[in-house]
């Protein structure tokens, strides 16, 4: 027997634990007798799902608020960037919008993900940035590799001082480009779609993409929606 949730098939037991996350009351008559005994899946369990599609659906069922509460994250850094963007209003007029965009960097203890693992398998602390989509107001959590963020911004990769890492460096790190440093004229962003205009379009592109630095993100991002 299987359970279909959000167009994805789950083994019966796993599906029951996800339904418990998704619904406050029992959604199917067949489960009424066991509903009270079902233990909802935790984020730790979700993170271990190998099937990416199942993991995506499971995170939807859990929801961001519960995810954050469960992993008990520690706020490391919060940065607010003043931004200006333009959009066309209902009357077809170009309107300028000034807003504050806040990015928060959180740390999650590696021990949360390491329950039941042997010593050599224990995970290091993990980090995510919490931010809002500027046009839809949806909240996003983006997991970042703190060592690489440090390296991208001129720090050490092996001896990372987390206090020196800020949320903007992390969000900049999530963007990759093959345009060399110093050759970016401007960056435009619409959701996940990033447009980068090089100063010299004929210049050689990098063979391996690189991450953006905090400085590039702060100075070259000219429009966002």
């Amino acid at each position: 027997m299987k359970i279909v949730i959000e167009n994805t098939e789950f083994a019966y037991d796993l599906g029951c634990r996800l339904l418990k996350l998704k619904h406050e009351t029992c959604p199917f008559k067949e489960l009424e007798s066991v509903w009270g005994k079902i233990k909802p899946l935790t984020f730790s369990g979700i993170a271990r799902l190998e099937n990416l599609e199942q993991r995506r659906v499971a995170i939807i069922c859990l929801g961001i608020d519960r995810l954050i509460k469960e992993v008990n994250p520690k706020l490391i850094n919060s940065k607010t960037v003043k931004k200006t963007t333009t959009f066309v209003n209902k009357d077809g007029k170009l309107v300028e919008n000034k807003f504050n965009d806040t990015y928060e960097l959180f740390e999650v203890e590696g021990s949360y993900f390491s329950k039941g693992l042997k010593n050599f398998q224990q995970m290091e602390n993990c980090y995510f940035v919490k931010c809002k989509d500027t046009s839809t107001n949806r909240v996003y959590l983006i997991w970042v590799d703190i060592k690489r963020v440090s390296e991208t911004n001129g720090g050490s990769m092996w001896n990372v001082d987390v206090k020196k890492i800020n949320a903007i460096q992390c969000i900049a790190w999530t963007i990759q480009t093959t345009v060399e440093k110093g050759n970016i004229e401007k960056i435009l962003r619409q959701g996940d779609c990033i447009l980068i205009k090089p100063k010299d379009a004929s210049a050689k592109m990098l063979e391996t993409p690189r991450h953006l630095t905090e400085k590039e993100y702060r100075t070259l991002l000219v429009a966002e929606s």
Binding site: M1, I3, V4, N7, G15, K22, P27, F28
Partner: protein, 211 residues
């Protein structure tokens, strides 16, 4: 060129037929056959000469895209009336990848139709793939329903694989590739009685004389 003309005349060649095919952004194999009154002869030196100059004298369209695939045919090479230069005449056909969408109805059992009506929003697939089923709601799928779903998928794949469209272009050549869907985004699937409508898009090659 003088040396090539000398060999051409010495061997009594009347014409040369170059066979070629190209596409996928490159030239394929080429071959050169020299025709004399006594029959066909081969000559490596002349073949190498023409292989070097033919690309300056004849335009070959090697760059494929989703629609144009390539061309194949011959280039007839002759010595001009004055006997001082060669003439080149391409005779080739270009291949274009076209598609044609047909609608078929698949007869299913009442039990299958009920399952689809209750739980399915779309079924789609294509050549070499299993049918992909998108569900319209969350539900518990019993072992019996799971087997029924497998039968539905197998039946749809069987019908789609076995379908041969009547091509709008009679000279077209049917390819192996096809895809199918019960409905496009924003549409609902169509069921009439115990029949499920399926749109199948088949790919075929159309041949046209090259420029």
């Amino acid at each position: 060129m003088e040396n090539a003309i000398k060999i051409w005349k010495k061997l009594g060649i009347e014409s040369c037929t170059m066979e070629f095919d190209c596409g996928g952004d490159s030239m394929g194999n080429t071959s050169y056959v020299f025709n004399t009154k006594k029959g066909e002869v081969e000559n490596k030196e002349l073949a190498d000469y023409f292989e070097n100059i033919v690309y300056d004298r004849v335009e070959f369209y090697v760059n494929s895209d989703g629609h144009y695939q390539g061309e194949s045919g011959t280039v007839e090479i002759e010595l001009d009336e004055d006997g001082e230069d060669f003439t080149f005449c391409k005779n080739a056909q270009s291949e274009y990848n076209e598609s044609q969408t047909s609608e078929i109805e698949i007869e299913l059992s009442p039990e299958m139709i009920k399952f689809i009506k209750d739980n399915v929003s779309n079924i789609n697939g294509g050549e070499g793939d299993d049918a992909t089923v998108n569900f319209s709601r969350d539900f518990i799928m019993t072992d019996k329903q799971e087997k029924l779903l497998e039968k539905i998928k197998a039946k749809i794949v069987e019908e789609a694989v076995g379908f041969t469209p009547e091509l709008e272009n009679e000279d077209g050549e049917l390819n192996d590739w096809f895809s199918y869907t019960t409905n496009e985004d924003g549409e609902v699937l169509t069921i009439k009685g115990n029949s499920l409508k399926l749109s199948i898009t088949n790919s075929y090659t159309e041949f046209k004389d090259s420029d």
